[in-house]
């Protein structure tokens, strides 16, 4: 029956992406806009339960398995691919667009994967495609892309090791909820957390993303970390350690973003910060917390992409990315400024924006569970988000001082993508009902109570006051802040020459020892087999007869024993 045939939504984007380079510019633009919409249609055709199976190496793979959580993530991924495609219509590096759409498709592949092997396949496809997105920016991104790939391949190795252990131990490849009670499951969790940007292996994110092109980072911000949030939601809900991992990410992101000068690196650190809120929610594990984490992933993809579109427009129009070089752009880039501010208010969960209706659900869950420390830390972090992203980004980029630059707003397609996402940020914030209807559990939460609204307004506005009063301390300098990647970028590099010397000495030793061993062996052979050797000399017949008699006698004696 035709109705039983399920088209894997991931396949539409991935195979569609591969034909992009073959098309004319006009047709390519058409496909960039249509492919994500077709994908979105197929996302909503996936029924509940396993819809597409395949057998591989004796395992039954569930290539497509649908439920509310899968559909929620796949929906926002498809919307993101559409807005990203629209924003990137004037990106003339086709390779980046191909990689970006394969990347989006693989992310959709992960969220519909019903078994661990399928998850792994799409997981690695995502790593490859996203590395290509970074590399598409040109030679300046080569090093960062390589470091990015190395960390993600390491994550892939951990995941594979955990997966093999899990399958060997339980005999099942099903991707369901795990309790953290074995080493393989710990490895799977570690592999997931690397992609989530959890500390200590988080610096790949602020290292590589800001090196991608003006459009590349818009795609990059959406898929890797949020796919990690999805697999954590599916595999490890209620795992207590995630509360602490998440809270650490939240504050790490804020502190590093406060110190940062590169506008897109500020936003990169704030991705870690925001994913921290989601990871904390997953650790809390109640239905409200999990709903909050899922909803926050959905809204985050939209407002973070909006922020990066706004930053990308500035980069596209001015070629500058440091706060110290920027400022005063509101005069000639009003639309970019307004859209950037809408994104900034949303990330800060200002009432009437999308962040408010999702993040406050996580805090509320912590309050209901009577976890005082978690609740207070989340409240402090919410204030910190306004500080490091909500005001800092628009202030330093669009206001601050007059940089003297007078660039106009970007081309129409980039403006259209920003307006679309700004409208979604406000739309979801004003009418959260449709988003709540998509969440995995029934929603028992009212965001707009007088108490909530007043509390958040106080929290955020007084953060704003702190920002302007402490502005002198927040002045940007031409600096970076060392992170864990220093270990492999500097310490490792410094250790390399001595390692080189050590390796050379060791190698010389091994070669010499092998030579000596071979020489000795040859000498033994020569002693026995050379013309003068013991085995090569002429034997007398008498001696032969004597030894033969001895052997036969020994045989006779042995056979009687």
């Amino acid at each position: 029956m035709i109705t039983d045939v399920v088209i894997p939504p991931a396949a539409v984007l991935i195979f569609g992406a591969l034909i992009l380079p073959l098309l004319s510019a006009r047709l390519r633009a058409f496909f960039l806009l249509v492919l994500p919409l077709v994908t979105l249609y197929f996302v909503w055709q996936v029924p509940d339960g396993t819809a597409l199976k395949a057998t591989y190496l004796g395992y039954e793979l569930a290539l497509v398995r649908g439920d509310a959580l899968s559909r929620l993530f796949a929906t926002v991924f498809a919307i993101m691919a559409f807005a990203g495609g629209l924003y990137a219509l004037n990106q003339n590096r086709t390779a980046e667009l191909v990689a970006a759409f394969c990347y989006a498709g693989s992310a959709i592949g992960v969220v519909f994967a019903g078994d661990l092997l399928t998850v792994f396949i799409f997981w690695e496809l995502m790593a490859i495609a996203s590395t290509l997105v970074v590399w598409s920016a040109g030679p300046s991104a080569r090093g960062a892309g390589l470091r990015y790939a190395a960390i993600h391949l390491l994550g892939g190795v951990l995941l594979m090791a955990g997966l093999v252990g899990e399958i060997a131990g339980t005999g099942s490849i099903a991707f369901t909820k795990f309790t953290l009670d074995s080493v393989p499951r710990g490895l799977i969790l570690a592999g997931f957390l690397i992609n989530a940007g959890a500390w200590p292996l988080s610096s790949w994110l602020p290292d590589a993303y800001p090196e991608s092109s003006w459009s590349g980072m818009v795609f990059l911000s959406a898929f890797t970390t949020k796919t990690a949030v999805y697999v954590l939601l599916r595999g490890f809900p209620g795992t207590e350690i995630l509360i602490y991992v998440g809270l650490f990410m939240v504050f790490y992101g804020i502190i590093y973003a406060i110190l940062e000068n590169d506008m897109r690196r500020i936003l990169a650190y704030s991705i870690v910060n925001q994913v921290g809120f989601m990871v904390t929610g997953i650790g809390l594990g109640t239905e409200m917390a999990l709903n909050g984490a899922a909803a926050h992933a959905f809204t985050h993809i939209i407002y973070k992409a909006l922020l990066l579109m706004s930053a990308g427009s500035v980069l596209y129009m001015t070629g500058k990315r440091k706060c110290t070089d920027l400022g005063g752009l509101f005069r000639t880039m009003p639309l970019t400024t307004i859209c950037g501010i809408v994104g900034a208010l949303s990330i800060s969960s200002f009432p009437l924006t999308s962040g408010f209706v999702s993040k406050s659900m996580i805090s509320e869950a912590a309050g209901i569970q009577q976890l005082a420390v978690v609740w207070y830390l989340l409240a402090a972090a919410s204030a910190g988000v306004f500080l490091h992203a909500g005001i800092k980004f628009p202030w330093f980029v669009f206001f601050q001082k007059d940089s003297g630059m007078r660039p106009p707003d970007p081309p129409w397609n980039m403006r259209a993508a920003m307006v679309l996402f700004a409208a979604l940020c406000i739309g979801i914030g004003v009418l959260p009902g449709p988003l709540y209807a998509l969440l995995p559990y029934p929603v028992d939460f009212v965001p707009y109570t007088g108490s909530h609204v007043v509390f958040y307004l106080q929290l955020l506005l007084f953060s704003g006051l702190a920002f302007f009063l402490m502005l002198n301390w927040l002045k940007r300098t031409l600096t970076i802040t060392l992170d864990v990647d220093w270990l492999y970028r500097r310490l490792g590099l410094a250790a390399a020459p001595s390692f080189d010397r050590f390796a050379e000495t060791a190698w010389t030793g091994v070669v010499a020892a092998t030579n000596r061993g071979a020489d000795g062996f040859l000498r033994v052979i020569q002693r026995h087999h050379s013309p003068a050797g013991i085995l090569a000399r002429t034997w007398q017949t008498g001696t032969m007869a004597f030894w033969t008699t001895i052997m036969l006698a020994a045989y006779l004696v042995l056979s009687y024993l």
Binding site: Y376, A379, V454, L460, F462, M470, T481, D483
Partner: protein, 79 residues
């Protein structure tokens, strides 16, 4: 150059006044809105206001202190 009305001295002064009024208004809202505190401290008058301000100040100070040790020129990794 700085001829835009938004960056004029007088406008900025007005913005500060408006901001102060809004800040005071949000705190005074605590008198009319009933909060449902989970713990205790979160029910104090103007909790969101002072807690937001204090935690932001603390985060800026921590960042500043950390920066003393971890800041490097942004050409650090270039060579």
């Amino acid at each position: 150059m700085d001829d835009h009305w938004l960056v004029r001295e007088s406008t900025i002064k007005k913005l500060w006044v408006a901001f102060a009024v809004v800040l005071i208004a949000t705190v005074l809202m605590d008198l009319v809105v009933a909060h449902h505190p989970y713990f205790g401290l979160d029910g104090t008058f103007g909790f969101g206001a002072w807690f937001g301000f204090v935690s932001c100040a603390a985060m800026v100070i921590v960042a500043k202190a950390l920066g003393l040790f971890l800041k490097r020129p942004d050409t650090y990794y270039d060579n």
